[in-house]
């Protein structure tokens, strides 16, 4: 039986826990920071009987899964598909960073591994397409900061490394796994300070917008003829 090297053991266990703890701490502080800003209220009477604040908030939170509900996603299905693939790839890779050290039996069999690798490769490809768009589209380029570029490159590299690490063949080479876990740790530490932390804001931003618009009788939207 193959014995994992102390370095890989540290990278996939202690290092991950430290990075996760760090990320959770920063996130907790971030949420505290968000809540320090006073929330604007809705003192006026409800807009109509068709909907209300909580209904609007729920619909707003789910809107990301309803590409037909927004003109921007409806008119750009390819961009929406990219969004789905990219985020599925990232979510799968995050999940994999827990599965490999603590429940490796869950990723077993060549078919599942091949599927995971394909997902990571596809997500990395989407990342490259998005990077190219960021570099060439005059509108997106004009608003891009170094963080935008770095975050994208970081994720592309991480997804490529995820594809290489997915088979978890440490007996052949620990290289891909070491790269994957060190990158994951860096990712976890960097994320709270970068645009990648947008998912912390997403539920709050969407909830407040939906609550306000629901209270006013706007959300859920009435579809046009």
């Amino acid at each position: 039986m193959y014995h994992t090297s102390p370095l890989l053991h540290f990278a996939e266990d202690e290092l991950q826990l430290i990075a996760l703890l760090f990320m959770a701490t920063v996130y907790a502080l971030k949420i505290r920071w968000i809540l320090r800003f006073p929330a604007g209220g809705d003192r006026q009477a409800p807009g109509n009987a068709r909907t209300d604040g909580p209904t609007g908030a729920k619909r707003s939170l789910l809107s990301i899964a309803m590409p037909w509900a927004m003109g921007s996603t409806r008119q750009h299905p390819f961009l929406y598909a990219q969004f789905v693939v990219f985020h599925l790839g990232v979510a799968a890779s995050i999940l994999m960073s827990f599965v490999i050290p603590y429940a490796p039996g869950l990723i077993r069999g060549p078919a599942l591994i091949a599927m995971l690798q394909a997902l990571f490769a596809l997500a990395a490809l989407v990342g490259i397409i998005r990077l190219i768009r960021r570099l060439t589209d005059i509108y997106v380029r004009s608003i891009s900061s170094p963080d935008d570029y770095f975050s994208m490159v970081l994720l592309i590299v991480w997804l490529v490394v995820s594809a290489l690490a997915a088979p978890n063949r440490r007996e052949l080479s620990e290289g891909p796994l070491l790269a994957y876990f060190f990158l994951t740790a860096f990712f976890l530490i960097y994320v709270p300070f970068s645009k990648i932390s947008h998912y912390i804001y997403y539920p709050f931003a969407r909830w407040y917008l939906g609550r306000t618009l629901g209270h006013r009788g706007v959300y859920p939207l009435v579809k046009g003829a």
Partner: protein, 583 residues
């Protein structure tokens, strides 16, 4: 090394920290620069290739400030996340150009942002920061000042307002030959307190008369207040919450004082939103009086059988333009359509519509910012195409701002279409009760300007609308030009009998046009009446009298100062044309 910051810039930064609430903070922090909002903005669609119009770019101008002063990473490593503060008054002017001149706060991008970033809300906040230090378009300053000082945004004096109501009451009594028709003022315990947009009093009083006729025939117990009657609110446009609270507060207090059971708000998108939705939040108060838009009131009257309408009276094809404030901020999309289907025979939907509709391009106070008019009209291309595709002859909207915005773009893009409010169509479709309908028709008196063609040249759409109404009422055919170049073209093709001319206009001044016309043998005989808000000889930069003296030009046939007095304008024009005929 710290960089010196101007007094105003420092004030803006100080106030930023006070004005960012949780919703705004989240909108500022959540943007991922994905660019999905880009082609949802009419400015972008009409100006392809210019990234400065993109919603995310405009948002980033404000976001940079937020990151520099309130965001952790932005404070630690500003260059990495694009944080940037403001230091000079020039930078504030540049920001003004973005937040006032490149966005109408229509909220279309907010509805298309996957993250729920609400640009319109924090763009309004940024406007407020600039207004606080006096950085704003001149028109915004004037309108806000009028609303603070006189209680309404068009500077209508109390006496003037009451005169107009009295005039409309007389008109109604004469039109229907019914002395019982009244416009009750300050009547206590009324079921409805009707509040209006000052544009109605100033430029379009017929809408007041039409609403009054509807209330009368519905048998409503209603009133109009003598104070606190302006339901519009420039605080929404200039981001000044204090102004917003003061204006809406006046209206709420009046309703309470009169013990009105309900406030009915005439057709106005931003007015409805401000009074119904925002005022209580700006003033941090609870408003006990229920409020509704007159759209609901008219619809209910028809449904309850309190008024009868005949849709065959409105036979021309009609389309509906959703006001951004009504559709995207107040959820009013279906009632106007229900009403339209009751009062007109050929209603055609515009695409996209409801909350996906494009802005009329006159929203967010844009109509008061004349310096941005060329930009506004260029961006109106999207709306013009939407309108043209319907094939309708009438575009109906429920917003006075939209009326002006649409009217301007219809002229600019030469669409064969007119703009109306719902109240116009409902009043036109009214079926009179038998007693009134039996009135003998009275022969109309001969109109003083019948057969005359008048060219109105003014960059302000409201002024053009008002003059058009005055001249059309007297039977004239009116053509309009928003600037001197268009005026010159129309003079050659339309050959008007008389021209009214504003002096201060973009591109080419009225002075220059006057000079050119007086030098041109084709137009030396054309009567010209100057109608200007800057006529006083002590205004050195625009001393028209000195100008014509220096250039050895003849005096104009008439010279009138704004605010326009309808009788004076009419007398002047009628007399000039009468003299011309005799000569």
């Amino acid at each position: 090394m710290s960089v010196a910051r101007s007094y105003k810039a420092q004030k803006v930064i100080d106030r930023l920290q006070l004005k960012v609430n949780r919703q705004i903070m989240l909108s500022l922090a959540a943007c991922v620069h994905c660019g999905m909002c880009t082609d949802q903005c009419h400015y972008v669609l009409a100006n392809p290739g210019d990234p400065t119009y993109a919603p995310a770019y405009k948002a980033d101008r404000i976001r940079k400030l937020f990151k520099a002063h309130l965001d952790w990473t932005g404070k630690a490593i500003p260059w990495w996340v694009g944080a940037k503060s403001v230091y000079t008054d020039e930078e504030l002017e540049d920001l003004k150009d973005t937040v006032f001149g490149k966005c109408t706060n229509c909220r279309r991008c907010s509805f298309n942002c996957p993250m729920g970033v609400d640009l319109a809300t924090f763009n309004r906040m940024a406007r407020g920061l600039l207004v606080h230090v006096g950085v704003m378009p001149t028109g915004v300053l004037h309108v806000a000042k009028d609303q603070w000082e006189l209680g309404n945004q068009m500077g209508v004096l109390r006496e003037e307002y009451l005169d107009i109501l009295s005039w409309m009451e007389e008109e109604l009594q004469s039109e229907y030959n019914d002395p019982t028709i009244k416009i009750p003022i300050d009547k206590p315990d009324a079921d409805v307190m009707y509040t209006i947009n000052p544009r109605e009093a100033k430029y379009d009083p017929r809408t007041i008369a039409e609403a009054a006729a509807i209330f009368h025939f519905a048998g409503e117990n209603w009133t109009m207040p003598s104070e606190g009657w302006d339901m519009t609110n420039f605080g929404l446009f200039n981001g000044d919450d204090e102004l917003g609270a003061a204006v809406s507060g006046r209206l709420y207090d009046t309703a309470e004082k009169l013990r009105a059971k309900k406030i009915v708000i005439s057709e106005c998108g931003h007015g409805y939103r401000s009074t119904r939705c925002e005022g209580a939040n700006w003033g941090k108060r609870t408003v006990g009086t229920p409020m509704e838009t007159s759209i609901f009131t008219m619809l209910e009257y028809i449904k309850q059988g309190r008024i009868k309408v005949d849709k065959t009276k409105n036979q021309q094809p009609v389309t509906y333009h959703d006001s951004c404030n009504l559709a995207r901020s107040c959820g009013i999309t279906e009632e106007p359509r229900e009403l339209l289907n009751l009062v007109c025979g050929d209603f055609r939907e515009m695409h996209p519509n409801r909350s996906e509709n494009f802005c009329c391009t006159g929203g967010g106070g844009a109509m008061s910012m004349t310096e941005y008019a060329p930009r506004r009209l260029a961006s109106a291309k999207v709306k013009a195409e939407q309108l043209r595709a319907t094939g309708a002859k009438i575009v109906v909207t429920s917003c006075h701002n939209c009326v002006d915005g649409l009217f301007d773009l219809i002229r600019h893009y030469k669409l064969d279409m007119e703009v109306k409010l719902l109240v116009n169509l409902v009043a036109n479709a009214l079926v009179m009760p038998a007693r009134v309908a039996a009135v003998k028709p009275v022969a109309a008196p001969e109109k003083a300007l019948a057969g005359r063609r008048i060219l109105v040249v003014d960059d302000e759409p409201d002024v053009r609308t008002y003059l058009r109404m005055i001249f059309k009422d007297e039977g004239a055919e009116v053509i309009e030009a928003p600037d001197a170049n268009q005026a010159m073209r129309l003079l050659k093709t339309e050959r008007p009998d008389l021209m009214t001319l504003d002096l201060i206009m973009p591109h080419k001044t009225g002075e220059k046009l006057y000079w050119e016309l007086r030098k041109d043998p084709d137009f030396t005989g054309l009567p010209i009446v100057i109608v200007t808000g800057y006529a006083r000889v002590e205004t050195p930069a625009i001393n028209f009298h000195k100008f014509i003296e220096e250039k050895h030009l003849p005096e104009p046939d008439g010279f009138l100062e704004k605010p326009i007095q309808p009788e004076l304008v009419l007398d002047t024009v009628v007399n000039i044309l009468a003299k011309k005929t005799i000569n």
